[in-house]
Subunit: 271 residues, 2 copies
């Protein structure tokens, strides 16, 4: 089988990475995809760098067993802490979620003030701020961890009074900073897009990293001659390290459509 | 050394179990305590029964290495799913968090309607409802999972408008059921006590399981002749499987006082 037919591997700590899969399917409908969600150890956002690096390598090795042609690290915590270490260890192209979103944000900002909202781990890694400053050192970055947003998204409370109040409280420093672009720095956050948009006002541009990552995957596959040109819809396979049924139930929200089968994978500490 | 001088072992998925340690120190100031928080894999509330049982055995084995005379499973998810399996595997007394709180609740309820609030896993295990019905089958149990309460407690948002709105929304079915007793079925929840009390009204009695567990530990140690009568304050040792510094920072909120040293333990999948 030609390498172009090999699947794109995607991993996340849980199911947030499905917002990336959704965009990959939209922009690259012919690609095969293998997804691994480390649901036995979700969330990574509260874990140490050391733990996140170890978990990320285990997840990558799981995907490599499925002969993936590329790995998308659809987890902000892993992208913040483990990307370099993964790239050193494996020979295939590995794309993280930080750089594509950061580049788009720099391109969009007129006022040179960019807000970043994410989990505590992603914010404290400083990876978004560093990446943005590397592109344009004159940009001011306003960071804000939003620990309640993941459980709000998983509760399906996208736009009730609690989500509104939490968004208002978390985003106040960003509004005060007069940022004109805000990066949704966690794969769960696109589900709360409306409530976030209202909290920052209609003139602020929100960056959904998932879209930017899918674009980068497409560009890179093109450049490498690895685009799947089979001409029919690709196949998606989903693996998790725990609770496949729960994943299946919640997946619909993230993916926008139901999935048939979720397998229990042997990544992570399930070995 | 006499067995009475051996420490009480306490484990939890993270730091919520410190509310139990706080009560143990209050009621049994002479006891030595060894605490293990599985912070590398917190929370258990979203994991499968199979994963929770496996993690619980690993945690118990870690405590046994410290020659504990008793194990307190200060985690509702572990108590719901793993208690029987742990009791079969090890010979020392093992106390969970479900039974003491359930007994107290049955004793306090006049209207025979008891509300239980906890993580999704604890609620779905049905363990509280079963335990209550076993004591008095005529009692009506109203269950309510509250997934936002743990992140609210960890944010330190005990009584702001977001905590108030979340408490109001989650507790509405319990208020409507006319329950006169509510069990705080998660070790994080005592931190939100005030906002929960206001949501249910002043006449509803809240059960803080931590107090009931400490009482049970005291009774059992007395009966077994294992009370530590050394006459001076006991020593507490804290171990976690990840992020000792973060644990130390948050521990003050749960324990009510600062702790000096937190060690990285080798329980869980750190072996």
């Amino acid at each position: 089988m030609s390498e172009a037919r090999f699947p794109i591997g995607v991993f996340d700590s849980g199911l947030g990475g499905l917002t990336v899969v959704k965009e990959l399917i939209r922009q690259l409908p012919c690609e095969n995809i293998v997804y691994f969600g480390d649901t036995a150890r979700v969330p990574y956002g509260t874990k140490s760098k050391e733990a996140i690096v170890r978990f990320s390598h285990e997840n990558a090795r799981f995907l490599l067993k499925h002969k993936v042609k590329m790995i998308v690290v659809a987890c902000n915590s892993s992208s913040s802490f483990a990307l370099e270490s993964l790239r050193k260890a494996y020979k295939l192209p590995i794309i993280g979620v930080i750089v594509p979103g950061a580049c788009k944000a720099v391109g969009m900002s007129r006022k040179k003030v960019i807000g970043v909202i994410a989990t505590s781990a992603t914010i404290h890694s400083g990876q978004y701020a560093r990446t943005i400053k590397n592109i344009d050192k004159n940009i001011k970055v306003v960071n804000q961890p939003c620990p309640l947003f993941v459980p709000l998204a998983e509760e399906g409370w996208y736009d009730n009074v609690i989500a509104q109040q939490a968004a208002k409280k978390y985003l106040q420093p960003i509004v005060q900073s007069k940022a004109d672009v805000v990066i949704l720095g966690c794969t769960h956050y696109p589900l709360l897009r409306n409530v976030i948009q209202r909290a920052v006002g209609p003139k602020v541009f929100l960056i959904n990293s998932a879209k930017e990552i899918a674009q980068e995957v497409k560009d890179l596959l093109k450049k490498m001659g690895l685009l799947n040109t089979q001409g029919h819809r690709g196949k998606c396979q989903f693996f998790v390290s725990d609770k496949p049924q729960h994943f299946k139930t919640l997946a619909k929200r993230f993916l926008g459509c139901a999935i048939k089968n979720v397998h229990k994978g042997s990544g992570a500490c399930m070995n």
